[in-house]
Symmetry: C2
Amino acid sequence: MTITLIILGDSNMVKLDEKMKEDFSKIKIFPFATASKDGVPNVVPIGFCKLMDDETIWVADNYFDKTLSNLQENPKASIFVWNTETSGCYQIKGDVEIKSSGEDYNRMYNMVKEMGDKYPAKHLVEMKITNVYECKSGPEAGKKLL
Amino acid sequence: MTITLIILGDSNMVKLDEKMKEDFSKIKIFPFATASKDGVPNVVPIGFCKLMDDETIWVADNYFDKTLSNLQENPKASIFVWNTETSGCYQIKGDVEIKSSGEDYNRMYNMVKEMGDKYPAKHLVEMKITNVYECKSGPEAGKKLL
């Protein structure tokens, strides 16, 4: 008997479509939600929230407090993509990795320092998108899109 | 020996100050964050989010999906108060009660129906404010204000 074990790396990741990416590009400040391990929700506005490829978001930690401690104990985050200029409204959930050294961290550090030398760019929060949900007001709200 | 037990009702509630209330009144759409019991964060934009008194926020559930199931199993929520017109940026956390009948529910129902007959106004989510945190970008971000 032969048992074949297939390990699918990153199998739970999803890719944003073109319409979602266009809407994403229209947002300047995103609401970034996290939760402590025991479920206390936290939401803060963030300016540095970049879509690096179809399935990866980079968030810069300049002044994170509860957000950082939440992510350290519970590496999950959620944002929504909406303002008065977007055509749709999407909620994104993802799994997070915190980086404070290495090539990706250095790249984020340089991007943040170009925005302003005062920003400390303490950590790179790399979010891999796992789910996208409809977020427009109406009976379809909450429906899983990706 | 006499032991005096003092039970302070609602002792963990806090009241917004005048500046916070003024900022609150300038927001049309709030980011409303919840989490499942096991800590999966969720954030959605909400239009009906009213400050009813210094320590009480009413949110109308028209089309809640994960938000409702999260609050049913973990009655905690977080919002922030910020847009380009506010003088400050505050994060509010609170404990939530879900009401689907009674005087408060009926009042919310009528308020929602005045906004548009199409809205189902399924539940009133009453949030009692427990904490307020500084949310403006900078070294003070995350500091407990109330």
